[in-house]
């Protein structure tokens, strides 16, 4: 594989993007992405993730703040002059050029001679598993194949940063899992710096080294997938990544870094996160609630309102003293019927205190 890695860090220093004087698309965002890592910008529509991505590419210019790639301040550089490649949501393959010509385009622009660019183009095709497709037109390829061509086209330039703008949104569900693994494999094998934008939180959890969750033009939380899932900083992140039951709880006492928390009749110990005793809220993952029909102490009493069979697990909607609860239960053989009264116990993971 003669395609090397040129990976560099990406830093944003209080970058803002303001349209027309009043519309703030990105509000003083700062972060640092290590070289060779895959970081995902995750968030709902309109949160600013695509704008941020485009500012890394140089397709949009920052209104305030500074953008660094490696050690170089690239804030004023347009896309043409940055060493950043992008895979677009619509792939943007040039319809009037063959696959080979598409991949070689960037190389030709930089002045490489024909034989060398042809070799590199072949390497690119091999990397994405499309050897032999060089003479076809984009219109003759399937969606998945087109996307791979787009990736190859971006890779052969050995960019410092590789950007993906919602690359899986045009693929059908089955293909998505396969393609996201391929992208992750290429990234780890070549140790590339990749910035990835998506609104699908499962995808983000699956491919990322780190995730930056954005909301309303700001960063809501940044961390590893595990950190975000198990220790969401606030309600928004808790609800955006995975599902969460948000219920009122009470911190009865603080013991160093830990807090004793009461949820209804149940009690548990959680990281205190700097909070004080008193009324608060907890986010509980659906799989962190355990159902049993025995009536034990230290559990929450609830009545089953809905029971849905989903093949691999059961989903229950419960009406309890602390509110409505949504539970995912892997035990499908002992399905509990609607109307039964059951007890709910808190497991020892997947629960977090949130403001």
């Amino acid at each position: 594989m003669s395609i090397k890695s040129n990976a560099a860090t990406v830093s944003f220093d209080k970058v803002s993007k303001i349209y027309g004087g009043s519309v703030v698309a990105v509000d003083q965002v700062s972060f640092k992405i290590e070289a060779g890592r895959l970081v995902t910008l995750l968030g709902p529509s309109g949160c600013g993730k695509t704008t941020t991505l485009r500012m890394i590419a140089g397709l949009d210019m920052a209104s305030k703040g500074r953008v660094f790639i490696g050690d170089e301040d690239v804030t004023k550089l347009p896309a043409t002059d940055r060493d950043v490649s992008m895979v677009f949501q619509s792939y943007a393959l040039f319809p009037h050029m063959t696959v080979g010509e598409n991949i070689a385009y960037g190389l030709k622009v930089s002045g490489m001679d024909k034989s060398e660019s042809d070799d590199r183009s072949e390497d690119g095709l091999k990397l994405v598993g499309l050897t032999g497709y060089g003479t076809r037109l984009p219109s003759e390829l399937s969606g998945g194949q087109q996307q791979r061509v787009a990736v190859a086209r971006a890779l052969v330039l050995e960019p410092q940063v590789l950007l993906f703008d919602e690359p899986l949104s045009n693929l059908d569900a089955k293909l998505r899992r396969q393609v996201r693994e391929e992208i992750r494999d290429i990234q780890t094998n070549l140790e590339l710096t990749v910035v990835y934008v998506t609104h699908d939180q499962e995808e983000a959890l699956a491919v990322s080294d780190r995730i930056i969750v954005m909301k309303n033009a700001e960063i809501a939380q940044e961390g590893t997938p595990r950190e975000l899932y198990e220790e969401p900083a606030d309600l928004f992140v808790a609800d955006f990544i995975g599902d969460a039951n948000v219920v009122t709880a009470e911190i009865s006492s603080i013991d160093g870094d830990w807090a004793n928390v009461r949820v209804g009749n149940a009690e548990t110990r959680l990281p205190s996160r700097g909070m004080k005793p008193g009324k608060t809220q907890v986010a509980i993952r659906p799989e962190s609630l355990q159902i049993s029909d025995s009536n034990e102490s230290g559990t929450i009493e609830a009545e089953v309102v809905k029971a849905t069979y989903l093949g691999s697990h059961m989903e229950y909607t419960l009406d309890s003293a602390v509110g409505e609860l949504f539970v995912v239960e892997p035990d499908i053989s002992n399905a509990i019927s609607i109307g039964s009264t059951i007890s709910v116990r808190l497991r020892n993971h997947g629960i977090a205190l949130v403001e």
Binding site: L59, T80, F94, P95, Y105, L157
Partner: protein, 682 residues
């Protein structure tokens, strides 16, 4: 000698040798030399006229001058281009549009040429209106001329005197606008909603007005309805009434203009009718509305903006039309012909022409503004009429029958007219001697073979080849400027873009006669001494037809996914490379469309051309009009028929060639139609 300082400005940029682009010195020096050079060139150009100093202030500073200055030539063109690009490069280095030299230079170029060839002449005409025949500025003279009876008189309402030209034009334009819209709507309804087998024929008919020189229909009407017209004599014999000249004047012009402009309304309204979502009509039907109610309460209201658009188009076309009123006007004075007579006739009153032009311009500009305000940006994007999969409702019976009969009747008349045109060229003397003959064709287009080779002996060859040459020269230039402007408008964002867009589209609203007159006034004296040359004809065509190229470009580029451009940029290409390798290849159909339509419009132009022709460069249309004025109808019709065939060949060849595009999108049709959707005044 007075050109020496230019050398200084030309040489100055060498001082930037070795400096970085981001160095402010680099940009400042370039801006200074570019701006300074241009400023000096222009000031010096305007300061010295044909007979010495133009402005008294220079006379007092430098003493009298007894030398004259000639107009700017190709050398000056080259020098000013250098200054312009030095300036734009300096601006780009300062960071405009992220330092993209190509884009900044393009904007600079388009601004410069539009300013020179659209704004400058119009400005000249405005100031010229304020001058009397001795060249003295006078508001009083302007006001007298402006409010003259000939323009605004309302005598025809009460007495048997003609009304002022302005009222006539306004009245005629309103009638024609309403007429073409109604007819166009009828045609559109039949073409899209009647399930009639021969709908496609109607679409084919829309090609006709593009390839027909504007006054030819007027000619055919004379042949049919004139004093010795076929129908007039026939009906006269039938009911025993002596034929009159009833067709000359408002009736004739109205019929001619409606025949000419209905197809354009039809094209616009087809898009509108197809744009009414069938789902809405189906929804109305499920809500218990019958066909008639659905039509009047849902379909028609949804079409209202389109109807307004079509009306305004017809209005502007009629206002600006020159050929038909010239041929059929009689005593009915309209502004466009009055302008012509003010310059060409015994009056030779430039100021008068300018005043009339101002009145005409204010009418068309207001209509243009209204049209843009009503439609916003939708005017410029293709309405391909795709959308949802519903089936449009059938026309209610109350509408279907009238619409059908109108459509069929009108189609029949159109076909008869064109048959007349074909037939008329083969007739000895129309109205008197109807023997068939080739005489006219021979007189016009004979070729003889002598011992020296082939000789074009026909009377018409001279103007024919001139027209073709000039049209062929102008077409690629029009396409280039138009597409470049379209690229800037669709793909780039920069301050002042609105003004830029307005300026480039302005020439659509300026009637041909006004352009013709303004070119005469502006380009007759140094520094731009262009009248009587072929250059002025080419320039006139380029800027008259630029909106055609712009519109085709915008329609086509809006269909191109923006991410193609962006992908190219992230792969390291600059905008010039992107334009060449990505955008233009994908625009081939639009480019060809722009070329063909520019060519055709150049061939059929009359209203501006008639002012700009000279002995050396005569254009086919002007020649034909000359024949008509000499009552030489035979040759005129024969020549017109030949022109129509030449252009028909051009358009058909283009359709065949473009139809083979592999991209295979339905867009080609839409693009071609969108180019002529807005049809401009001839």
């Amino acid at each position: 000698m007075w050109l020496a300082p230019l050398l200084f400005f030309l040489v100055l940029p060498i001082a930037t040798w070795g400096r970085l682009k981001s160095d402010p010195f680099y940009s400042n020096v370039l801006i200074f030399s570019g701006l300074g050079g241009l400023a000096y060139l222009l000031t010096q150009g305007f300061a010295i006229g044909i007979s010495g100093w133009e402005f008294a202030v220079f006379e007092s500073i430098f003493g009298p001058m007894d030398d004259r200055q000639f107009g700017l030539g190709y050398g000056a063109l080259f020098v000013s281009a250098s200054f312009l690009f030095a300036l734009t490069q300096g601006i780009a280095a300062r960071g405009a549009i992220n330092g993209d030299v190509f884009v900044v230079s393009s904007i600079g170029l388009v601004v410069a040429v539009v300013a020179a060839f659209v704004f400058f002449p119009v400005l000249q005409i405005l100031t010229s209106a304020l001058r009397d025949n001795e060249g003295v500025y006078s508001i009083a003279v302007f006001l007298t001329k402006f409010s003259s009876h000939k323009i605004w008189g309302l005598g025809c309402l009460s007495a048997n005197v003609s009304c002022g030209a302005a009222w006539n034009s306004l009245f005629l334009a309103t009638l024609v606008g309403a007429g073409t819209t109604s007819l166009g709507l009828a045609f559109a309804l039949v073409a899209t909603r009647s399930g009639w087998k021969y709908r496609r024929l109607l679409r084919a008919l829309t090609v006709l007005p593009i390839i027909t020189p504007p006054f030819v229909i007027g000619l055919a009407i004379i042949l049919l309805f004139g004093l010795s017209g076929v129908i007039t004599t026939f009906v006269g014999d039938l009911i025993g009434v002596t034929p009159t000249r009833w067709v000359y004047g408002l009736p004739g012009i109205m019929i001619a203009q409606m025949l000419a402009y209905t197809p354009i309304a039809f094209l616009v309204l087809i898009g509108v009718v197809e744009g009414v979502s069938p789902s809405m009509e189906e929804a109305a039907q499920t809500l218990r509305a019958d066909n008639w109610k659905t039509f009047t309460t849902v379909s028609l209201p949804l079409m209202r903006p389109g109807l307004a658009n079509a009306f305004l188009l017809g209005f502007i076309e009629s206002m600006a039309d020159f050929g038909n009123p010239l041929v059929l006007g009689g005593n009915f004075d309209v502004l466009s012909t009055e302008i012509f007579f003010a310059i060409v006739g015994a009056q030779n009153d430039q100021g008068q022409a300018a005043v009339l032009a101002i009145v005409l311009l204010s009418f068309t500009l207001s209509a243009f503004f209204l049209q843009r305000k009503w439609l916003g940006r939708k005017t410029y994007t293709t309405v391909t009429g795709k959308g949802d999969s519903g089936v449009p409702a059938m026309l209610p019976r109350r509408v279907r029958y009238p619409v059908f009969s109108i459509t069929l009747g009108w189609t029949a008349m159109t076909l008869v007219i064109y048959f007349m045109i074909l037939f008329g060229g083969f007739v000895e003397i129309w109205g008197l001697d109807h023997t068939l003959t080739f005489k006219h064709y021979i007189t016009a287009f004979s070729i003889s073979f002598t011992e020296d080779g082939m000789l074009w002996t026909g009377a018409a060859w001279n103007s024919f080849w001139t027209t073709i040459t000039i049209a062929l020269t102008a077409a690629p230039l029009t396409a280039m400027v138009g597409l470049l402007t379209a690229y800037l408008l669709v793909r780039q964002v920069f301050t002042g873009k609105q003004v830029f867009e307005f300026g480039t589209m302005l020439s659509f609203a300026i009637p041909g006669t006004v352009i013709g007159v303004s070119y005469i006034i502006a380009f007759n004296v140094p520094p731009f001494e262009l009248t009587g040359t072929a250059v002025i004809l080419v320039i006139c065509f380029v800027f008259r037809n630029m909106p055609v190229g712009v519109r085709a470009g915008i329609a086509a580029m809006s269909q191109l996914d923006k991410s193609l451009d962006e992908a190219s940029l992230t792969l390291g290409a600059n905008s010039w490379y992107t334009l060449r390798k990505v955008v233009l290849p994908l625009l081939r159909p639009a480019i060809v469309a722009a070329l063909v339509y520019s060519f055709v419009r150049a061939m059929t132009a009359i209203s501006a051309v008639i002012f700009l022709v000279s002995a050396e460069h005569n254009m086919a249309t002007a020649y034909i009009i000359g024949r008509v004025e000499n009552n030489d109808y035979g040759i005129a019709i024969a020549y017109s028929t030949v022109l129509i065939f030449v252009m028909l060949t051009a358009v058909v060849t283009f359709q065949l060639v473009v139809g083979e595009r592999k991209l295979g999108r339905r867009v080609e049709r839409g693009e071609a139609e969108s180019v002529i959707k807005e049809g401009e005044p001839a």
